[in-house]
């Protein structure tokens, strides 16, 4: 009995650790604030607790423990909707919106990270309970096995869940901003019609143009997604600082597509016009799960 308590304890720690290692605090992604940081740590801990007690409960022939699993999925679904709600509520206050696709992606990612917590503590606990049953190991040895296994599992799950970035599917270069009459162009793509001369001058002086060249057919389809483009723009704006106010729609950053090639040209007016930084940021934007397309069918499964 004492064995199982320390086994559960370590499993909970490993599960929480999984969540800790997957919390990324930076200016790009939510949660970037201490409040949500704490609440997600606690939720990760709760998930780990749920995972850790399932197997020991089964071993003591308490089959009611299955309800734990139902409880866990319900809790994780709540986390997803909680994130979605709060981000959607903030959306109107953003000068440059995240876009629904990006919000959904972030919410899903939070849910998945809690599953990782749950899965880690569950697997760690199960493995060590089985080992304990078969070999009757020393507690000390058992705990070491748990910790080592837990670490590998966390690393494995983390690598699976790591999102692709735009750099994986496209090349990004600086684009040239110019005007054709009232039409703002980045390279050869029309972005929008601007009628006000002062805005035009500011854009020519301070604007940044970026063109994204998809590497293959799949990337063309993925980048065509409006949510994906909005995510790129949002990341650029939030990290470089946007030079725009509510009464200046002329400076709204926009991404437009060249239909014949699928290249995306985008225009943004930032506080510091350093295209090199913009390119680095655009490269690190995650490819949204909902935007990913594979029209070339290279990964089509048989049957």
């Amino acid at each position: 009995m004492e064995n199982s308590i320390s086994v559960i304890f370590i499993a909970i720690i490993m599960g929480t650790l999984a969540r800790v290692l997957m919390i990324r605090v930076d200016y790009r992604q939510y949660p970037s604030y201490p409040q949500s940081f704490v609440s997600h740590l606690i939720l990760g801990f709760v998930a780990a607790c749920l995972g850790a007690v399932v197997t020991p409960a089964f071993l003591t022939k308490d089959y009611g423990a299955v309800t734990f699993l139902a409880l866990a999925t319900a809790q994780f679904k709540d986390i997803r909707s909680m994130e979605r709600d709060s981000l959607e509520r903030l959306e109107n206050m953003e000068l440059v919106r995240r876009g629904e696709a990006y919000i959904e992606d972030i919410a899903k990612r939070f849910e998945a990270r809690n599953y990782v917590s749950f899965l880690t503590s569950f697997s760690v606990c199960t493995i060590s309970s089985i080992l304990n049953h078969i070999f009757e190991l020393e507690v000390f040895l058992l705990l070491i096995v748990e910790i080592v296994f837990g670490f590998f599992l966390i690393l494995f799950l983390k690598s699976i869940l790591k999102p692709n970035t735009i750099a994986d599917i496209a090349d990004i270069k600086e684009g040239k901003i110019h005007f054709k009459g009232p039409l703002l162009m980045v390279d050869e793509v029309v972005i929008m019609n601007i009628g006000y001369q002062v805005s035009k001058d500011i854009i020519l002086e301070k604007g940044m143009g970026i063109t994204i060249y998809p590497k293959d057919e799949n990337a063309v389809a993925t980048l065509a997604n409006i949510g994906q483009r909005q995510a790129i723009i949002h990341n650029l704006a939030s990290q470089l600082g946007i030079r725009k106010d509510v009464d200046e729609p002329d400076f709204t950053p926009l991404a437009r597509r060249e239909p014949s090639t699928g290249n995306i040209s985008l225009f943004i007016l930032t506080m510091n016009n350093i295209p090199r930084d913009g390119i680095v940021i655009a490269k690190n934007v995650p490819v949204l799960e909902s935007a990913r397309r594979k029209p070339d069918g290279s990964e089509k499964k048989e049957g």
Binding site: P182, G195, Q197, S199, T252
Partner: protein, 61 residues
Amino acid sequence: MAKETIVAIVTTNKEKVLYSGPPVFYAESKEEAEKTAMLLSKITLAMIHDVENECFIIVQH
């Protein structure tokens, strides 16, 4: 997609606008037209577009 509405038209040539739904502001010169368009766009939080036939349209996006 939000609905786009033309909230006003500023023109230097009365001949170019017929039966307009949105209000039309007549300006004597291009400079005056630009200024009127700018002021209107600030008030309505809308954007000035140049349709290149002596007219500016102010559109809410």
